[in-house]
Symmetry: C2
Subunit: 301 residues, 2 copies
């Protein structure tokens, strides 16, 4: 299969480079790093083994890219308005588009604009950062779950999982709705709270007040998920997420990095959209509504 990566940053750059390094044909769309990567290649400095792609297929214009079988989209979701025009030149009738992005409602919104698209969600569990042009620093974790949203051929989704595994990436095929909501159980409390209180995951959990608050926020997401039809989740999942996070390396979530570096925050898909889904299911999330308002204030001031 021929792969494309739209958004060759800390996440898209990592997963695309792993596939290319394993021998897959991967075409990378770049923006600010194009000149550098065209000359010097793409480096992955990784806890799992570093490598250097000397001459990757790189582009600064999607019109110059070939049609592909699989497109991995790893843009920040604040730029999702660009996706239809970026995708158009890459599509064959059966191209699978995998949105490796955080949040809820991403696939539904894109599907509405492009009704015949074959879509899947990519849930990336990875600590990585692009610290310099053309260099992806992969600190820890790295597995990816793929949930089929609207692809008629589940085999294609399984093939992507299989290609990732062959590339040394721990990958699994998962149920779409359950996977997106389960990721939100972690993402919604920690992304916003680290921004509002200017702190890290470990400090939030070492204070009894914020630990309890994070736990209550997780329960809000779990209840909303159940109200939205996800059955395979209950309150024990919050205990598990708290336990896992306490045993993780102290961590700044992506929204904290975005805020600290003056980049736009992904409030729409991490908060506004899931909050709307929860209200529509008659299961509002008051703590997370408040967190959204605080983030909207910080974004504007």
């Amino acid at each position: 299969m021929v792969y494309a990566v739209i958004g060759t940053g800390a996440v898209g750059g990592y997963y695309g480079a792993k596939l290319a390094h394993s021998g897959q044909e991967v075409h990378f769309l770049l923006h600010s790093d194009y000149e550098y990567v065209h000359r010097h290649g793409l480096q992955v400095r990784s806890c799992d083994g570093s490598f250097h792609l000397l001459q990757p297929h790189v582009y600064n214009d999607p019109a110059l890219m070939p049609q592909c079988d699989v497109v991995l989209v790893a843009l920040k979701s604040v730029n999702n308005g660009l996706i239809p025009s970026l995708l158009a030149p890459l599509l064959k009738p059966d191209t699978l588009v995998v949105l490796i992005q955080n949040g809820l409602g991403l696939e539904a919104d894109l599907q509405q604009q492009m009704p015949s698209l074959h879509l899947a969600a990519g849930l990336a569990f990875i600590c990585s950062a692009k610290t310099e042009p053309g260099i992806v620093n992969h600190q820890c974790y790295g597995y990816i779950n793929i949930g089929n949203y609207s692809c008629h051929e589940q085999e294609r989704v399984e093939q992507v999982v299989s290609d990732f595994r062959a590339a040394g990436v721990d990958a699994h095929s998962v149920e779409y709705h359950e996977a997106r909501w389960k990721k939100a159980v972690w993402n919604m409390p920690f992304n916003g709270m680290t921004v509002v209180l200017n702190t890290r995951t470990d400090l939030l959990l070492s204070n009894p007040y914020t630990k309890q608050l994070i736990y209550e926020q997780m329960l809000e997401v779990i209840r909303a998920a159940r109200a939205c039809g996800v059955e395979n989740i209950d309150e024990t999942f919050a205990d598990k997420m708290i336990y896992n996070t306490e045993n993780m390396t102290p961590y700044s979530p992506s929204m904290k990095l975005d805020y600290d570096f003056g980049r736009p925050m992904e409030i729409d898909y991490l908060y506004t959209r899931p909050l709307r889904m929860a209200r529509a299911a008659n299961c509002p999330m008051p703590y997370l509504e408040m967190l959204e308002a605080e983030l909207r204030f910080l974004e504007a001031n």
Copy 2:
């Protein structure tokens, strides 16, 4: 009547000085400013007319003070554990103690320690600051409401109100529970939110997200007040508070000043205690529970 002031700061210094300036006998207990005020007197720089008390009655030890008819307590409530020992030398059997402090539950807690005390609440609506030793800067507003908590002689409360008025302070006698809760409707949202988002009242209200959040937080307090037996309050009071604040000078509440200057915040009586009362009345305040947790985190980190 003979007055004492315990806590001669921005609030206690202002109200005590106004009474003394009008001819009342007022005995001031001072701590860090004692030497300065003993030598140079107490200055009030006020939007309503400045004045200088050249030789006020000042003390640095309550044991040296005379017994008084009225004691105005204007300590920060984080120091309320000191009140019984500070009060003891000043009390006659019928002394009225007025707690000019922010929060809920202050009188109940002190009454439990000193069951025979005659207590009232002083609700101060004032912008003032002690910027230098012995100098109170009074920027705007200044009225005070007195609510009788446990004084058998309502006449004494009325006499205090009358003395304030004779001193040029707009004062009123009010119903205790209603007055404390109504003040909390403003205090609970604005004190904490200006700290957590490092901002001012006017900016919180000019952002549509935080304006709505502040409004919802006010409704939480109003519902809790009603659940706790305050009948003369409804949701229109929130509209009034929002409108008044939009027409106020941009303002940093006392907790914001405390946090900015590294002083302890009055979280116990402004949040923890009223939150407990609301839960006990089966009317929890989730937005304000979250705000308390955020403040506890900032206090500790």
